[in-house]
Amino acid sequence: MDILAAQIVTGLSIASILLLVALGLAIIYGTTGVINMAHGEFVMLGAYSAWFLQTFVGLSLIESLVPIFAMVAALGWIAERLVIRHLYRRPLDTILATWGIGVMAQQAIRLSAGGELRYVQMPPAMANSISILGIEVSAFRAFVLVLAIALFALTWYLMYRTSVGMKLRAITQNREIASCFGINSNRIYSLTFAYGAGLAGLAGALVSPLKSVSPEMGTTYVVDAFMVVVLGGVESLIGTIASSAILGQLNGFLAFYSNDTIAKACVLVAIVIVIRFRPQGLFAAKVRA
C-alpha cells in the first residue's frame, strides 16, 4: 500500500517534469504549427542560465527563475524574428531551420561555457525530503510539481481569459481572416514563441538540480516533449496535462515493476498504437478547418 502510494507520487513527479518541458512546445506547435526542434536547446539554455546566474551573479535558483524566463524568452523572440518568421508558410523547412538553431545553440554553449557537466545547487531549504501522508517525498520534487501546475494554470488563463489569448486562438483557427479583423498576427506569433521558449527555459532551470547540465541535455527532453504533445493532441492544453499525467504514471509503474529500459520501450509502443488509431491525439480540440 505504501509502495503503491509512493509510486503514484513518483508518477506525478515524473509527469510534472514532462508537463514543464512539453508546455512550451505544445503552445508553439499548437498555435504556430512550427515543429520546434530547438525546444530542447531552450531547455538547455534555461539550465545554463541557472548555472550562470548562480555562479557569476550569486542568485539562488528561486531568485533566478524570473530572470531566466526573461532571458530565454528573449532568445526565443530573437530566433523567431530572424529565422522562423520567414518560414511560417513552409512548415517542413522549419524542422531543418529549428534543428540548425539547436545545433548552433549547443556549440555556442560548448564554446563559451565549456563541455563539462555543470553544477546547479538545489535550494538548501528543499534539499531534504518531506513527509506527506506518511510518504517520503523530495521537497524539491514537490515544489516542481506545484510550480508546473501553477504555470499550466497561468498559461490556460493567458490563452482563454486575455485578449492576447483570444487573438492567438483566432489566428490559430484562420490566420487570414484573423488578419482581416485587424489582428497583428506577426506580433502575436513573436510573443507566443517567446513565451514558449521562456517556459522551456524555466523547465531547464527546474530540472537542473535533479539531473545534469550539459550542452547535449536538450536532445532527450525534446523527444519527451514531442511524445507528450503528440499523445495529448495538438492545440489542446488539457490534452498536454492529461498526457503528461498518463505518461508519467505509466513510466513510473513500468519502471518499478520491471525496469527503465523496458518502460521506455513499452511507452513508445503504446504511443505508436494510440496514434495509429487516433492520429489527432487523445484530446484533440474540435476545430473547424
Binding site: I3, A6, Q7, T10, S13, I14, I17, Q107, R110, G115, E116, L117, R118, Y119, Q121, M122, A127, N128, S129, E136, S138, A139, F140, R141, P209, L210, K211, S212, V213, S214, E216, M217, T220, N251, G252, F253, A255, F256, N259, D260, T261, A263, K264
Partner: protein
C-alpha cells in the same frame, strides 16, 4: 578575351594537373617510408572533442597533450620530438574507425592514444589489428579482450573489485542491489561482482540496467526504499551518475545505511553533482586526485597550470598521462630506423615507471597494466578520502570471470 565556362574549366584542370605534377608531395606526402623521418615521431590523439562523451574525453585529450608537451620540452625521445596529430571522432564509433584509419594510413602514426568508451575501442580495433599498429587505451573497462594491438592502462574488473567487494560486504552487509547502464561494461562488471558475491555468501536482491543517458531515477529509488539493500553497487555511467546521486540525496536516503559503491564515479562526476550529493558514497579506482605522492602533486600542479585552476584530474586522465611516458620509454630503446608499431609493442612489454598512482608495469602476457587499486569515500568538498590501498600492486587478469580462458602473448588460450 571573354572567359566562358569551357575555357575556364580547361584552364582550371590544366593548372590543377600542373600543380600536382609540380608538387608531388601534395598527393604523395604519405609515401615516406621511414616513420621517424625529419626528426619527429608522429602519434595520433583520438579523443572526442564534440558529442556526448566529449565531456570526459576532453580531459583525456588534455592529459595526453600535456604529457607530450612535457616530453618535448625535456628534449623529446632520443632527440626526436613527438608530433601529435589530433583528430575529433565526435563521440561516434563509425567516425572513430574512420579517423583511426586516417591516422594509421594517412598520417603514418606509429601509435595512437585514444578512446573512452568500449564501443569506440571495439570500432577502431579492426583498423589496428589489420595494419598491425598500436592503440593506447586509458580507460577502466570490462576486460575479456586479448589484442596484440592495444596497450590497456586502465583498470580491469579484477583490479577494481577484488579488494572492494569483500571490504563492502564486511563493512555493510550481504544484500546487494546492482544497477548499471544498459551496455556491455556494466554487465561484465556485474558478472564478475556476482561471482565474488557468491563466494562470500552474499545475495543479489536485484540487478537492473537503465538506458544510456537516463536521468529519471525516481522509480529506481522507490525500489531502493522497498528492497532496503545493504549496498547499492553502481556501474551507471556518464551524466546518469549525476542524476542518480542527486535524486538519491533529494529523496532523503542515507549513505550511512545504504551506500552506493561505484566503479565509475570520479572527481569529474562529483564536481557536476555537488559534494553534498556525493558525500558518503564509495568508489574503487587506482587513482584519486588527493593521492599523496610527489609524482601526483607534480601531475596535478602542472595540469592545473596548463589547463586552468578549477580543473580536476581523475582515474582516466591519469592513465592518459602516464601511458605517453610508457610509450616514450619503449621508443627510447629503439633506433630511429626501428620505430615501428610491432617493435614498440615488444619494447613496452614489462616496462615500468612511477606513475602518479604508484609504480605501474605493462604485463607482457596480455599488455594490460599492473595497478594499485584504492578505495575512496567521497566528502562534501568534492574530493575523496582514501580509506585503503591494496597491499600490493594487482596483476591484470582480463578473463578473471571466465575460468577456462587465459590471455597470453600468443593470443587467447582456451582450456
Amino acid at each position: 578575351m571573354t572567359l566562358n565556362r569551357r575555357t575556364f574549366l580547361k584552364g582550371t584542370v590544366a593548372t590543377g594537373a600542373f600543380a600536382t605534377a609540380g608538387f608531388p608531395h601534395i598527393w604523395m606526402k604519405n609515401s615516406s617510408l621511414a616513420r621517424a623521418a625529419a626528426g619527429e615521431i608522429k602519434v595520433g590523439v583520438l579523443f572526442s572533442l564534440t558529442g556526448t562523451t566529449a565531456i570526459i574525453e576532453e580531459s583525456l585529450n588534455k592529459a595526453t597533450l600535456m604529457a607530450i608537451e612535457e616530453i618535448n620540452d625535456q628534449g623529446g625521445i632520443n632527440g626526436m620530438k613527438i608530433a601529435p596529430v589530433v583528430e575529433d571522432p565526435a563521440s561516434d564509433p563509425a567516425t572513430f574507425a574512420e579517423k583511426a584509419r586516417k591516422l594509421v594510413l594517412g598520417d603514418k602514426c606509429v601509435s595512437v592514444f585514444g578512446s573512452y568508451t568500449s564501443a569506440s575501442r571495439k570500432a577502431v580495433l579492426p583498423v589496428f589489428e589489420k595494419r598491425n599498429n598500436l592503440y593506447f587505451y586509458p580507460t577502466l573497462y570490462e576486460g575479456r579482450e586479448c589484442s596484440k594491438n592495444v596497450i590497456y592502462t586502465g583498470a580491469l574488473p579484477n583490479q577494481q573489485q577484488d579488494d572492494f567487494v569483500p571490504w563492502l560486504v564486511e563493512k555493510f552487509g550481504k544484500r546487494w542491489y546492482l544497477i548499471g547502464s544498459n551496455y556491455i561494461y556494466p554487465k561484465e562488471e556485474n558478472n564478475y561482482c556476482k561471482k565474488l558475491l557468491a563466494g562470500l555468501g552474499a545475495e543479489v536482491v536485484n540487478e537492473e540496467y537503465v538506458p544510456l543517458g537516463h536521468s529519471e531515477f525516481s522509480s529506481v529509488i522507490n525500489k531502493f526504499h522497498s528492497e532496503k539493500p545493504d549496498v547499492i553497487f553502481s556501474t551507471v555511467v556518464g551524466d546518469s551518475v549525476v542524476a542518480l546521486h542527486r535524486q538519491y540525496r533529494a529523496a532523503g536516503l542515507d549513505p550511512e545505511k545504504m551506500p552506493m559503491a561505484s566503479l565509475t564515479t570520479s572527481e569529474n562526476e562529483v564536481a557536476a553533482m555537488g559534494g553534498d550529493a556525493a558525500a558518503g558514497h564509495f568508489t574503487s579506482a587506482p587513482y584519486f586526485m588527493v593521492w599523496d605522492s610527489p609524482e601526483n602533486s607534480r601531475f596535478v600542479e602542472s595540469y592545473r597550470k596548463r589547463w586552468g585552476g578549477d580543473k580536476v584530474t581523475h582515474f582516466v586522465s591519469e592513465p592518459s598521462y602516464f601511458q605517453v611516458y610508457l610509450f616514450k620509454q619503449a621508443v627510447e630503446k629503439l633506433a630511429a630506423s626501428d620505430i615501428t608499431p610491432p617493435n614498440i609493442r615488444e619494447a613496452i612489454k614489462g616496462e615500468e615507471m612511477i606513475a602518479p598512482q604508484g609504480k605501474v608495469r605493462i604485463e607482457k602476457e596480455n599488455l594490460h597494466t599492473w595497478l594499485w587499486p584504492k578505495i575512496g569515500v567521497c566528502k562534501s568538498d568534492g574530493q575523496f578520502e582514501i580509506l585503503k590501498q591494496s597491499s600490493d600492486w594487482l596483476e591484470p587478469i582480463p578473463y578473471k570471470a571466465y575460468e577456462n580462458q587465459v590471455c597470453t602473448e600468443q593470443g587467447l588460450k582456451e582450456s
